[in-house]
Symmetry: C2
Subunit: 362 residues, 2 copies
Amino acid sequence: MEESKDHTTPKVRQGVAQPNKLNPKLARFQRKRKPKTAEAYVKGILRGDRMLLSQAITLIESTNPQHQALATEIIEQCLPSSGNAIRLGITGTPGVGKSTFIESFGLSIIEQGEKVAVLAVDPTSQVTKGSILGDKTRMAKLSTHPQAFIRPSPAGTSLGGVARSTRETILLCEAAGYDCILVETVGVGQSEIAVHSMVDFFLLLLLPGGGDELQGIKRGIVEMADLVAVNKADGAALALAKQSKQAYRNALHLFPPKASQWVPQVVVCSALSGLGLDKIWALTQDYVQATKDSGFFDNNRRQQAKYWFQETISAQLQALFYEQPAIRAKLQSLEQAVELGQHSPFKAADLLLALFRQSFQK
Amino acid sequence: MEESKDHTTPKVRQGVAQPNKLNPKLARFQRKRKPKTAEAYVKGILRGDRMLLSQAITLIESTNPQHQALATEIIEQCLPSSGNAIRLGITGTPGVGKSTFIESFGLSIIEQGEKVAVLAVDPTSQVTKGSILGDKTRMAKLSTHPQAFIRPSPAGTSLGGVARSTRETILLCEAAGYDCILVETVGVGQSEIAVHSMVDFFLLLLLPGGGDELQGIKRGIVEMADLVAVNKADGAALALAKQSKQAYRNALHLFPPKASQWVPQVVVCSALSGLGLDKIWALTQDYVQATKDSGFFDNNRRQQAKYWFQETISAQLQALFYEQPAIRAKLQSLEQAVELGQHSPFKAADLLLALFRQSFQK
């Protein structure tokens, strides 16, 4: 885990002879591996160097403390140049065609002159080795487009870890000049909350079908949506998709108004035929305009920054707590006693907190 | 704040001469105030002594460490005798008639042979001096009924404090033999989450009206409801209430299924005429039976206990963190820098965490 996950430069293995005089290629690699300064990364990112952007993201994702310190420095220096993109979250159940949608939608935005970055928050990639975006070939055209930058979710990390690295990657992509950041996620509830807290606009993809289709979506996700797009509205499914649009519209109407004052819209679209893609981008821009005018846009970003600040404190405090040997020794038996009703949950928590204070004062 | 909030026994003020030989009434009070042991309280609670139950709850609500220690002991000893009631959460927007509903509903349950306790989670009572249950006269019959026990929300406490004391009070009421615990709350979102995490069944009261009425309810609350009751279904409003019932039923149908597998029901009721009250109690019992059969009931209570255990740890860790002088000195400026985009939220959090570790290791 101490090793960098940098997959953009080959690794020079320890113990291997270093025949740099004999092998000019390896010598070049070794020069390349000379640690770059934060300034070098930042300069490269600001001029849109994709290789340096990739490497900086790899530093963000690394668990090596030196890499983390360097990443933090890069981020801090990029901050003044960040914040200018539209951050768009995209979710939907498996089978809704997210990858194909992002491929088509991304290309349609690029046609309008924008630079697009695609990121992902997929904590399940730990198990599935990257169920989304892992395979760039699913976005064959977009991934090779010079105006697009695609970065899969890092594998083997917790939701907290993925969320943090994605949140920080957004900043670097913005500094690198991307105008629209698409953050893809899977419909597992917690990851939607994380993505919702780092984007400006939240798009939910659904399949044509009755109102019952909403049943496949985790509780709370529908409420987050600023826009519902009924995807695969092509061929024989077009008529059904239009019916679904009406059903979803009625359903959304029953939800309480959003803090943004934005009334969530429902559209039909097809990644295949391109139907509705322009409309989705136009609605996104309408939203940005309306919320910038009302002040919600900027206020929401401030609230989001505060949220991540507080969330990080809370998460790290808990990590610190649960890693204490004194806590670990007692936790399981106390938790069991609580679940069996042998201890009040408050009393049990108090007991552990007392241990925590003691273990720190040693 | 160090002083007990015990309002069941008059206080003997410091500095006042103690004429107990001259005043037999005061002498009796002073004997009464001799600290009782936890065993004395527990014995009283178990035989259903309302005075001792009230006093024990006052200890729970007290901020005096000695009272808290005694309260904890009482709770721990009552635990084996607790858990046998149906815990029912009730919410609804102001004006929906919660107090009148609870008065009528409580009396109708008592008629069926049950003992009813009514508690409240109302963090707003800090401001409004107890906007709900504060005035027992609004439940004139129920509050004087020997089979009922009503306890207002303690004033001047945070949601966390009220939630904890209410959660603990439930246990004491159960040990005292109450079969049904009604926990009332107001429609402000956070307090519903707290109540939802301490009850078995969650009832949402709505007014007759179009589906648009749902708009008055905070996001997420409708999703928690196991039962929606359209109240004030009497007189000219009866027909409208029946229409609303259908509209709400259609709306609820669009929500994803609940973990309990229970399909939320919608009924009309009237606290005035008594219409529907029996049905609400019957549905509550159906729910309890169905979820006990499926194992959800017990599992849910275990999960709730675990939730409060973890929530308490998290809340107290944060309290500990934010009370450190080193943190307080830096917090505001860092938070501001985060909001203004001058610091990454993660970097700012890391800085504070480093201070926290240092301030502990001193």
